[in-house]
């Protein structure tokens, strides 16, 4: 399917039977899921179940062995793939923030639009300052990452991704390295994004967040999706024993 064929009524991200191995270890054993524009989905599951690996496949950080991932109709599992074009559409936020430590918060946000998208500096700066306010970091524009708390760094990282104006945002356990009290502020930022209609894919352990914000919850274990559903039914009427066990441990 060529890129031009994609229309917003089709899934924005569509994975079909995705397989991925690291050497002899098969991490993903046929993952399929669809995410529509404006949806927020959460992928939960025990560690080692392949959820982080899967989310990293969506923007081609990890190449997949077989299957198909379409992002706005563009096949990710294609040797001819223009990775840069794909990554302009897909933003990603990491567990360890990965801000550039030699640049201030504002520079971190502005750099990619200026250098990668070749956009006008003044316009980018305006947008960046707006984003800083949006993630509630007014006054921290000129702070270096080392001077910010984990939660603040993570919000800069979110703003940095948003500055590229992506169509989809991937969040890879973004609150896992944070103090409990700063988790809230990061989740609030993501929640606002989701409510504004940003398509979000989260790998998370925050069940409260998944229950309140997600449109759909996927539970993965040992490389497959065991069960999925809208949060209302997923958290109360899980059928698979593995899901039940996981939920009983974590809730």
């Amino acid at each position: 399917m060529a890129e031009s064929d994609w229309t917003p009524d089709q899934p924005m991200v569509s994975a079909k039977d995705v397989h991925k191995s690291f050497g002899a270890l098969e991490v993903l054993k046929g993952i399929s899921l669809d995410v529509m524009k404006g949806e927020c989905i959460c992928i939960i599951g025990p560690s080692g179940s392949g959820k982080s690996t899967f989310i990293r496949c969506i923007n081609a950080l990890n190449p997949i062995n077989s299957g198909s991932i379409l992002v706005e109709g563009q096949e990710v599992n294609d040797p001819q793939l223009d990775k840069l074009e794909l990554r302009k559409k897909v933003g990603m936020v990491f567990q360890q923030y990965n801000l550039f430590p030699h640049k201030t918060a504002l520079q971190n946000i502005m750099m990619a639009p200026i250098k990668v998208l070749k956009e006008d500096r003044d316009e980018v700066e305006q947008r960046a300052r707006h984003l800083v306010k949006k993630v509630r970091l007014d006054g921290k524009e000129d702070s270096y990452p080392g001077e910010l708390s984990g939660g603040q760094q993570q919000r800069v990282a979110i703003a940095r991704s948003l500055a590229m104006r992506p169509d989809v945002m991937l969040f890879d356990e973004v609150t896992a390295a944070l103090d409990p009290e700063t988790v809230k502020e990061v989740l609030l930022t993501i929640r606002e994004l989701a409510e504004e209609g940003m398509t979000c894919i989260l790998v998370t352990h925050e069940m409260g967040f998944a229950r309140e914000v997600a449109n759909h919850v996927y539970f993965t274990d040992r490389g497959v999706i065991v069960e999925h559903g809208p949060p209302k039914t997923f958290f109360t009427e899980a059928e698979d024993p593995r899901t039940r066990e996981f939920l009983s441990q974590i809730l």
Binding site: L84, G91, N98, L99, S161, M164
Partner: protein
């Protein structure tokens, strides 16, 4: 840095890893460090040798101190040449080494292989052997577009010293780039930076800080290696000292004069070493 690594590896030798409270004092390398006291010791040795020489000297001869004072301008001239050689060598070596180091992390396999081989060859070859090769293999003059360009021995010696500097700096560059966490590359990748942009805008600026202390260390080592060029007849400090001793023809001057030269090297290299240490400390705390 190596001290910190050693510190960490203690847990891996069979003992169970135990999380101990982090202490800056323990983590800082506690190995031998250059102190001002070492300089005083060196200076005291110089004074001692001079005094012993004075006592032993035949009464008719001029005193050792007077002789040293007399030759000081000549000796300093020779020593200045050591510094000049070290400057030119570090500049050439750093530029060539930077290119070679970037070659070592190239995505192209052949470039990587060639850069690695060149680096390893020159890094592990004895400096003196390289020096001899350059002196005897490079012609003393070049013919370029009908113009004869002379190639004096000291320039050949500079090239000879630049080669090991290049190879060592190549390793410093490679090590610094590889010490940047993968997360930086991944974050840049996911923001659609090209590899080249990632390297120049994100990775290398962070490397400069990490490269500065080992680079300064390399410079100090290079400076201390410059007397090697005396063997091929370049008129630097070592050669000058030899000439002075030949002119004076007094065996009691031998040790004081070489000690004098040693002190000159110490006075020059010591501040560099101190500065390197303070930079290492500063960066170690920040990162």
């Amino acid at each position: 840095m190596s001290g910190a690594r050693k510190h960490r590896s203690v847990g891996g030798t069979g003992n169970l890893a135990v999380l101990k409270p982090f202490s800056l004092h323990n983590a800082a390398p506690s190995a031998w460090r250059l102190q001002p006291g070492h300089g005083y010791m060196l200076f005291a040795a110089l004074v001692l040798f001079v005094l012993v020489g004075e006592v032993q000297a035949a009464p008719a001869r001029p005193s050792i101190i007077a002789t040293m004072w007399k030759w000081t301008p000549f000796l300093l001239q020779g020593f200045a040449f050591n510094i000049l050689i070290s400057f030119v060598s570090i500049i050439i070596g750093t530029m060539a080494g930077a290119a070679l180091g970037l070659g070592q992390i190239s995505v192209s396999r052949p470039i990587r292989a060639v850069s690695w081989t060149v680096t390893q060859f020159f890094r592990n070859a004895p400096w003196l052997v390289l020096l001899f090769y350059c002196i005897f293999l490079i012609p003393f003059e070049f013919e370029l577009f009908g113009v004869t360009i002379p190639f004096p021995a000291w320039i050949k010696a500079v090239i000879g010293l630049s080669l090991p500097v290049m190879a060592n700096f190549s390793e410093i560059v490679r090590g610094a780039v590889q010490s940047i966490p993968d997360g930086q590359w991944e974050a840049a990748e996911s923001l659609a930076y090209t590899r080249r942009q990632t390297l120049w805008l994100i990775v290398l600026p962070q490397c400069i800080k990490r490269m500065l202390p080992p680079w300064m260390n390399l410079y100090a080592v290079l400076t201390m290696a410059t007397p090697l060029v005396s063997i091929v007849g370049v008129g630097e400090g070592m050669t000058t000292t030899g000439e002075i001793l030949a002119a004076e023809n007094r065996s009691d001057l031998l040790i004081p004069f070489y000690m004098y030269l040693l002190c000159l090297f110490f006075i020059y290299c010591y501040p560099i070493a101190r500065w390197t240490i303070s930079l290492e400390r500063k960066f170690a705390v920040k990162i």
